[in-house]
Symmetry: C2
Subunit: 434 residues, 2 copies
């Protein structure tokens, strides 16, 4: 087939959505270009374990070129798309114009600070592989500094971690961090009293993992509290500064470590599309995941505001994967001059790990908790993790820490500036990386 006659599909973003489109289009007559600012795909559901020093960053990432290199008609460009110019039907990437016939926007989401003062400057996000490593570095550095701090107030400050947001990410990270601290770090830092270490999990709503509710939410709270996590419900953050976190009820929690998992918002690059952008950054799409008014621009994943029974679909991996597959199928049908049915989301349920032997799952309406839920959680995560070696290494790490109560990844790496104390720059983690 003549390359010049092939229609070109540009996919922006190599997350779950984008990659599934590419996979579906492999071997078709389309000329497909995947563009991402990173040269790897990140398996975000396990990112919190990178921050908890459980697994290595390399183990939840796969080079995009490795994934697409068996798809003869799919190419990869590592770069940031700086603009979508629909009028000319091009995207601008690395200063060059790249023409498309069809555009799939799968750029995902970024942290949403809900305009609360100080969140961007004083909290750690947990959205990218870099974030995961920076947070790991920061927490381990706080322990090192605490071990050298004379003053008990400063020590307590360094050993207080506040996690804002009681959704799945906040819960999973709180559980993993509690186990990191009560296990390996307690053995590594015998000089630190156990009492001084506090993990807060702050949730504005009435329940942890509110989407599950009822018995699963209560079980989650009970298990986290058993691990020593202080769960504060109905607690909203009013601001943050270098002292710590200020709650609306007047409480001040002094800390150097605030992890923000309270919400995300859609992220889109500069464009000339006449699209309806909601306050949460998402863009309303029609029942074919198309931007209304455009026949050749699709949005999938976190960025897409897709209404399902009148309510927007959640910003989670299964939605992105299903929409990615759908768009691939739709484009293949278009090639044959066929039309397909509107996208229909199949809710396969969800799951949240709380720690060793403890998880909650809700599958096909069936609510499970405890050991069986935990086994299901492990099985599903290994199944979806890309790359056989990644699966193997993550499994070994998990078995290792299960048997030995040990997490041996806990390196402060890389030191990102030449400050001899290594602290000034790590204190707020991101300051010197940006």
């Amino acid at each position: 087939m003549d390359q010049n006659k092939r229609k070109r599909v540009i996919i922006i973003g190599a997350g779950f959505g984008g990659l599934w489109v590419a996979r579906e289009l492999s071997g078709t007559g389309y000329d497909v270009i995947v563009i991402d600012k990173n040269n790897y795909h990140t398996f975000l559901p396990l990112l919190y374990q990178v921050s908890a020093a459980e697994i290595e960053p390399e183990q939840i990432a796969s080079p995009v070129r490795f994934i697409v290199r068996n798809f003869a008609n799919v190419r990869f460009i590592r770069g940031q798309v700086t603009e979508i110019c629909y009028r000319d039907k091009v995207v601008i990437c690395l200063g060059q114009q790249i023409a498309f016939d069809y555009l799939v926007i799968a750029t995902g989401s970024v942290n949403n600070d809900f305009n609360i003062p100080g969140v961007l400057q004083y909290s750690f996000p947990l959205k990218t592989l870099d974030d995961g490593m920076i947070l790991r570095n920061h927490i381990l550095t706080c322990f090192e500094r605490a071990s050298f701090a004379d003053e008990s107030k400063q020590r307590r400050r360094l050993l207080t971690v506040v996690i804002v947001g009681g959704g799945p990410t906040g819960v999973e990270f709180a559980g993993a961090l509690a186990e990191l601290i009560s296990g390996p770090l307690k053995k590594d830092f015998p000089e630190l009293g156990n009492d001084a270490i506090t993990i807060y999990l702050i949730e504005a709503g009435e329940n942890l993992v509110g989407m599950y509710g009822g018995v699963l939410s209560e079980y989650t709270k009970f298990q986290l509290e058993k691990k020593g996590v202080k769960v504060l419900l109905n607690s909203a953050v009013s601001k943050m500064d270098k002292t710590g976190v200020y709650l609306k009820d007047g409480t001040i929690i002094e800390t150097e470590t605030v992890v923000w998992t309270a919400g995300v918002k859609g992220q889109l690059v500069k464009n000339d599309l006449n699209a309806d952008i909601l306050p949460n950054g998402r863009i309303t799409v029609d029942e074919y995941c198309k931007v209304p008014g455009y026949d050749d621009v699709f949005i999938i994943g976190d960025l897409a505001n897709f209404l399902h029974n009148g309510k927007p679909l959640p910003m989670i991996a299964p939605v992105a994967i299903q929409q990615g597959k759908y768009i691939g199928t739709l484009l293949k049908a278009l090639q044959k001059g066929k039309r397909i049915k509107p996208f229909k989301y199949v809710d396969k349920g969800g799951m949240v790990a709380i720690g060793r032997n403890k998880a909650i799952t809700q599958i096909a309406g069936l609510k499970l908790k405890g050991y069986i839920a935990w086994i299901i959680w492990i099985f599903i995560h290994i199944l979806y993790l890309i790359g056989f070696k990644n699966k193997l290494f993550v499994m070994i790490n998990w078995i290792w820490s299960y048997i030995f109560f040990e997490k041996s990844v806990r390196l402060i790496l890389p030191r990102c500036c030449d400050d001899p104390h290594g602290d000034a720059c790590l204190q707020r983690g991101r300051s010197c990386m940006e």
Copy 2:
């Protein structure tokens, strides 16, 4: 035993030398403090494999606290020693004074630029775990940029790697890089012609791995050239700038990637010791590894200029390990009021890997090359690597790449600045990290 009556040994540096002292002193009556600016020990002999995307940085590093936590009398401080104040018998670390009775200086070495202009600014060192990751990021980024470069001259520039120094590190890295490029990267970047990619290995002397000489040096050169490496002997670098490398014979090699493995020099912190510092930064020690004139200050490893049959011992791991063990034994003897014999280095030989199935070794005068040497190389490196899980993961990675000709670690991580192209900062690698 009363803690206050214990004599305190401070060990600066958690490399091979420092850790072996600590290990030897575990369970003795000494109060031992190990100080290092990193919270991990790095297994430097495999660092080049991190840069060649063969193994993950976490796999050649072990948290120091994990290593020393079973030694009840050994503590760890993560921090940089900024000054040794012998007059007061203290070291200054993180702004505090820490008193010692005995001091072991094992701070190792840094790159030696031999005052050649441009080396520090325009070349990549390969001495620390950070260096290893930065170089990996840089090389992979050059390939990404080349795949997007229109102009063939710029493309060739990006695909030229110059390694300066034909010692073990230079040879091992050249071999590993050649395999990375001819294997995975060739498959990942089908758009890049193979011809455009060039690896130079530049050596000022007459031979590669000159310490072996003869048939082993020739074999090494032959094998590297078979892999496509251009070996330039008797070639000295006169300067470097942003264009590339200038050789003394007038040759200019245009490149963005110069790796400097041509030599190291001792590194010592500020101090009031009256010691004899050589031009190469090393400090002459007596036959007990003591600084002449001081009964309580020892120097071991790369920093120590120890004369063995009139010649200084090389700056390699086995010397540091043997000296570390020796100082531990010496201090234990001192406690009992005994004296021990002077330090005697036992040369167990050396080994250099060139690539798949290819290595050279010289053990007890016996010179081996090829497959058997390679098996010995693997066995010895796994044996000395600290941590069972590290051994396991490195073995799996090696078996993996052996069977599949695949190296799946090749992530550009972390992106260290917010430049959308990610290139400005990676172009010279270190610029934004420092």
